[in-house]
Amino acid sequence: MLDALTDPFAGEIGMRALAEVALLGLVCGPLGAWIVLYRQSYAAESLAHAALPGLVLASLAGAPLLVGAAGGLGVAAVAIGLAGRERRVGSDTAIAVVVTTLFGLGVMLALRPEVPARLGEILFGDPLSVSGADLAATAVLALAVLAALGAFHRSLSLAGFDPQAARSLGVRPERLELVLLVLLAAATLVAVGALGNLLVVAILLAPGAASLRLARGMGPSLALAACLAVAAGVAGLYASYYLELAAGASIALAAVATFALASLVPALRPRA
């Protein structure tokens, strides 16, 4: 029995993958809960998908995907930020046009014959291909995002709960939305390598949304979101090992399963 539990992580590749998904779960879970609370889920999906051209260009140039993701996210953030100001057609429509354009550009670049056969890795990720350098980068950025979430906790709570009165209590809500988007970009940057451009949204949003259905209070919700995201990552690795499934997709499905299960057990939340 013990062997069955440890076999997937016996080798160096498995151990690195385990460490990677644990780090990603610790940061993406609580961050996802904030994103859901701030109703920024669409921005999360947009940001991840709009980074595709940067990822493909990095692949073409033989550069690390992390570098491509950083460039792609920078361009996407500026484009989404500008589109978000569009009032005539509505910010949602403008952002959708920008994201579709960037995603289409990414696919067009990715289908060029000179692109190495890494499109699948870019779109769907592969935590089993994580290198030591990738893991170190994930650890640094994950710690930075967690530290920022801790430091901004009070301000995020106040601005999200009562934006109308926040300013009179010394907090500017629009700044906190920007902080959240920057943290989202940082988390997407590290998670996109392991989970891919299409699937990263699952680990970012599903555990956070599930925790908000199950837990009472902000602290328990954030802690549970981290636990669910880590659990989804580990469960996905087991499924990948024993069922011979793609690891990134398995983790994404496990993350979505946490939300599905949370929807089935509302009775866990005792009512006053």
Binding site: L37, A151, F152, R154, S155, S157, L158, G160, F161, D162, Q164, A165, R167, S168, L169, G170, V171, L212, A215, R216, G217, M218, S221, R271, A272
Partner: protein
Amino acid sequence: MSALVTTKGLRGGYAPGTDAISEIDLQVEAGQIVAVLGPNGGGKTSFFRALLGELPRRSGSVEIEGRVAYVPQTERARLDFPVSALDVAAMGTYADAPWYRRLPERSRARASGALELVGLQGEASTLFGELSGGQRQRVLIARALAREARVLLLDEPLGGLDRASASRVGRVLDDLRATGRAILVATHDINDAREADRVLCINRRQVAYGPPEVLDAQTLERTYGGELITLPGGGQAVVVQHHSH
């Protein structure tokens, strides 16, 4: 008695060339409740924003003794946010420490004490969204008290409350008046305004300010214009057109 709020010729606004409020002259003493009466879009919230320093001021002056706190309508707050009554009250103490530092224990104690003042110490761990409308209003008042504010600005605190809840909130306001705070209450309700110590009638500009006796038919007509209707029997009421801010 000392004046906690003094405005002289206050004029301000956001849009170029258009004043949201003008000619506001008033003096609010410690221990007074002032009803701010006016139609939707008449400048009640803008006046509060001016007192908070958030409305660009074009002329005139504002002087406030001590801290000022804004108590919004409860439906403006997010009921699905997983924060307890104590968490919300503690938000009033956030200025005690920089954003990156832990709140000192005395801040939490002050928030707890504020909940006790509004009679909600037993609901400290209840989620804000699970409280009744009247309890939520009292929690937001507790947040203002935790801020140690001497001047409270309440935006339609009795709106949407049943008679019992409104009465409970009213008693809390009376208790606060007795502690020497100045309380300004934006309201549509002419009868509520008649219970206050002073009434400010506002429709973009100050129509009247004084004791409740200023609320005669002519003042109400100038304040509300077409929104004022006369009821059978001679009473007057205001047709409230709800709008989003």
